[in-house]
Symmetry: C2
Subunit: 219 residues, 2 copies
Amino acid sequence: MSALDGLAVRRTTTAQQLADGLAERIMAGAFGPGDRLRESAIAAELGVARNTIREAVRILELTGLVRYEVNRGAVVIAPTPEIVEALYTARERLETAAAARTPRPEQLDAITEAFENLCAAADTGDLGTIVDRDLAFHQAIVAVLDSTRLDEFYAAMTKELRFYLTVLSKSETPEEVVAQHRLILDAIRAGDRDRAVAEIRAHIDTSVEQLKQLLDARR
Amino acid sequence: MSALDGLAVRRTTTAQQLADGLAERIMAGAFGPGDRLRESAIAAELGVARNTIREAVRILELTGLVRYEVNRGAVVIAPTPEIVEALYTARERLETAAAARTPRPEQLDAITEAFENLCAAADTGDLGTIVDRDLAFHQAIVAVLDSTRLDEFYAAMTKELRFYLTVLSKSETPEEVVAQHRLILDAIRAGDRDRAVAEIRAHIDTSVEQLKQLLDARR
DNA sequence: ATGACTCGAACTGTAGTACAGTTCAACTGT
DNA sequence: ACAGTTGAACTGTACTACAGTTCGAGTCAT
């Protein structure tokens, strides 16, 4: 910690700030999946020029929360069974690959800590926090792969998934969540990589199944 | 194949076309790593408005060929030892994870075909094509993971790597390339997953080592 | 010469206006 | 009920303008 810590000039552009703000709003549910982001309306409301909004939305596109359709502009992503399945397949591949490795001590600690955080959240019962901690636990597992690029890729998927979970208001009892993750953690801590892989696979299978049911129910 | 195949109206925007064109130019070496993409100059040269160029460049950012720096605009990515290493680490994780699986027959065929294409290119001696076929071979391996999202992620990394290889004009003898890949293919075809993983690891190790030397030599 | 400093040209970031082409829902006529 | 028409809203693109930033060239002191 230096004496100049936290001192930083405004090293960001208006468009970047708008992108951050919009991402927040979308995650908070201000825009639902499939909604269009109307440029003039947003520009007027926020008091910025339309081209600045356009840039902000292009930046948003980087994070994957919206995609562009020709002549329809930016549209908030919407979960379909195919998309959810593809997302979970990629998660499964990365997490099992990670579980097949031997974590370094500090990685094991990080995973354990993530689990404890999850337990604490489960005690409070705050669903949003539980989901966040849940996802953070899995991110800690992927970190065992020791690849920043894969960490980033996984984080981007997590952001997308977080949004889907919010809009689908997926809910399971905190006890279930903790129980499932404890199985994974135990297997990892025991150094039983085959079991860890199997537990992760099972966990992801049940999750994707639940989500698909929720998706069907919506239609 | 329907009777309407290939019939499609211009389902794209000017900005998208510009992004594609710029990507091509960059890959062809019109802009070197670290070069800035000056908006006014490009806009004037191509006869489009500056904001359209800005959009095109934002789209380009999606593919990872350029990144933005505040008040300096778009800058073509430049390989550093850290970046190259991170890239190859991610490749290693994905490819070994794929090699640890049992490929389906058609996947095995695809890999074999990719190898044959590589051999054919090696015979002609065209370095650019060899690199392309080399990368396609590895993409075919990753396809064994059966995850479209990971396929896409890997493809994006490949594009980035292709650019680095071009600007660094990496060269090894075609015989070497074919020999190394034959080892990998043989291990996969033999169903010896441990050996396949080991061969891939070795192949990537030597590649990254060569690249690092090239990078040092540049400085 | 060397290094610190100043200045200005070039460029980015943002605002604002304009308009042709597209989308989509409401309206119309059958 | 249904095909066709119309118009409002919106996107894609162009153009202009200007404040703030960057960076190299020139200047000055050492």
